[in-house]
Subunit: 417 residues, 2 copies
Amino acid sequence: MDARRTTVRDMRRANRAVLLTRIWLDGPLSRHELGQATALSLASVSNLVGEVIDEGLVEEAGSVESDGGRPRVLLRVTPSYGYLVGADVGETRIQVELFDLTMTALAKAEYPIAAAEPDPGAVVAHLLHGLTAVTEQAGVDPGAVLGLGVAVSGTVERTADAVVHAQTLGWEGVPLGAMLCAGTDIPVHVDNGAKTLGQAEMWFGAGRGTRHAVVALVGSGVGAAVITDGVSYRGAHSSAGEWGHTTIAYGGRQCRCGNLGCLEAYVGAEGILDRYRQANRGRPAAGGDEESALGELLRSSTKTAEAVLDETVGYLGAGVANLINLFNPERVVLGGWAGLALGERFLPRIREATARHALRQPYAQASIELCQLGPDAVAMGAATLPMARLLRDGGVPRSPAARPAASTRPARRPRAR
Amino acid sequence: MDARRTTVRDMRRANRAVLLTRIWLDGPLSRHELGQATALSLASVSNLVGEVIDEGLVEEAGSVESDGGRPRVLLRVTPSYGYLVGADVGETRIQVELFDLTMTALAKAEYPIAAAEPDPGAVVAHLLHGLTAVTEQAGVDPGAVLGLGVAVSGTVERTADAVVHAQTLGWEGVPLGAMLCAGTDIPVHVDNGAKTLGQAEMWFGAGRGTRHAVVALVGSGVGAAVITDGVSYRGAHSSAGEWGHTTIAYGGRQCRCGNLGCLEAYVGAEGILDRYRQANRGRPAAGGDEESALGELLRSSTKTAEAVLDETVGYLGAGVANLINLFNPERVVLGGWAGLALGERFLPRIREATARHALRQPYAQASIELCQLGPDAVAMGAATLPMARLLRDGGVPRSPAARPAASTRPARRPRAR
DNA sequence: AACCTTAGTTCATGGCATTAATCGTGGTGC
DNA sequence: GCACCACGATTAATGCCATGAACTAAGGTT
């Protein structure tokens, strides 16, 4: 877990890592720009870049004239060097998606989940099936898949087994990582869905360009992904960011978690609809499922609906303000299907409500935006898990076999005794 | 700000840093133990240790028999290698304290603050006077002082000027660091008082042995210091951890910050006494200042007092639960004078209240303890600021002049070509 | 007294990034 | 039209670093 920074070889790996990360994230760059961005000498940049080009990880991509000098050659990560598979295990369906290294989706597979509490084995089977399905669909060599990232809605222990605890799925200590590993040779990564979505928004969406952000997710449940200094904040056991079950109204409404006054009981979709039903003398909002009911509520213009939504905005503002006060982010990104629906209509008022409840200075330092990525962002974020690993390792961890044979060395001289 | 990890020299510095940190924090250690603790080869440990011993930073401190082998020599940081000064700028007094490198207090100076909103210039004058006062008092060469750490109650920008915003002092953008630097050659560090206290508790108090903790401080005001992976969580602009003004009771009591329902309005000393007064038909608790009034309240056994305190425990539990849900720490350390007073009497009930409001799993992963250090902990924490810097730099950044002349070495033998 | 055990040091080695010099490529001035 | 310049990138020489293996130190056991 803790990268032991000791030997001189590790330094090279670390430098390769920052170099690759820059190239991947900041698009095509010249060697010169890389040198400035990474504080490495041009000689080292050249050296390292040459290495990754030889390995096929990076390629030259055109050149740009410089005023009166040799044109600079731009570098980018080879899109087809490898492929990434991201999967989103939701409450109603499993989605599996294949990406190239530019994060362009190449193929998709979806499997509905029938049971309320799906069998882990069945989910694993779907995931493995999806893995082969998307590679076949896109005509990609399965051996070129760098990794499979899986997003689930519970907390995931950061161990080799990737033990999952997910109340919504009824999973208690399911070693999802181990189960998947048993079915494939491709490296498997499992993480919480909110965190993968947060990572996706940070790299490609509304969080772009910031290093400290909180991605606040409001759907049926309510959660948050906290990103600190560019990396996901996990806490001691990876369950940090449980925003939905923070107390916002002491002694208030009962939440489905059993406690009173949780934020989720007020701004979660269920909580909103419930409060509307109460305010509306027991008559619920129209619409079949939660999503259409909330949409209906947002479109209706009755006094009752407005009062409930107004209140919701207030609670949401207070909740966001708590995040701002505690985490002091540069940006809060509001997402989740209910969060987006609310945000699209009420964002200015949400900002105002937040301003009312947050401390002046931290509020002024934070901007509040909406998520920019579509519903596939969770799977895309999952696919960034193997990519993040690739970048962190500075490319393929060279297999010992690829090492030049030791036979070239002179025979070891016999030891004198 | 960002340690550019590039050259091979930086690696040595980094290794010296981890070595020194281990020696300093984990008491006397042998070279062997150091090798295991730092994942460095014994050869490197020997080499590096020899260097810091030559510089006088580390010294041998006795030896321990090992079963049947050569006794291991223990190493420790030389207590008198340098001295640290920590200062606590409180609302009523400025405290300046001198420590050796074992964090033993050697001298103390205190200056009362008369005005409610003290003049920054006067505070700086007190601090500089205190600096010379404590060195004289202890008979320490001022040149041997490695740094001055100053703790203030506001937010401190992490810039060279260390600009302070402190509402309680009436300071708005005071460049305290720059002002102090103008008056002394000794390196100056400024940070928030809650964060320095948190650091002190982490290294020497109730947080010892954990890497993820939240130090929750309850006094007149309410705040928190969040420690993640051993370092203080700062957020984008160093004002993270504003726990006191998170909304815990939506639409509830008015807080002195102007908002409604802040935690501080319920569990801050002022909030508690205020609530008691209201419950007690306008008659306040006995006692002159807040501290004795709260003490009186805690000792009294009237129904009203018990009800108010009971409620306070509930709110505090909910507040702590929010910290646990959001940060997922290994430990929550409750401190501040009011927090300690409450905790000493009610800790089990606070734990219960927290359990009621937190999610089961994060709660089970966190222990709740009381601060262990006394009222000087803030100054002590401030003194750790220069120490932290020393450790991070792996000792004095060697000035080129201090380099030993190469003449002592045998002449390099000419290499055959 | 020979041998074992554990701690710590020395030395040769392979790796690393850096600086300085060099090569490559295009435009500009006379 | 040619020398020259500006800028990008590469190569060569250099110094520093941690490592493993061999070795020294210091004590106990048989």
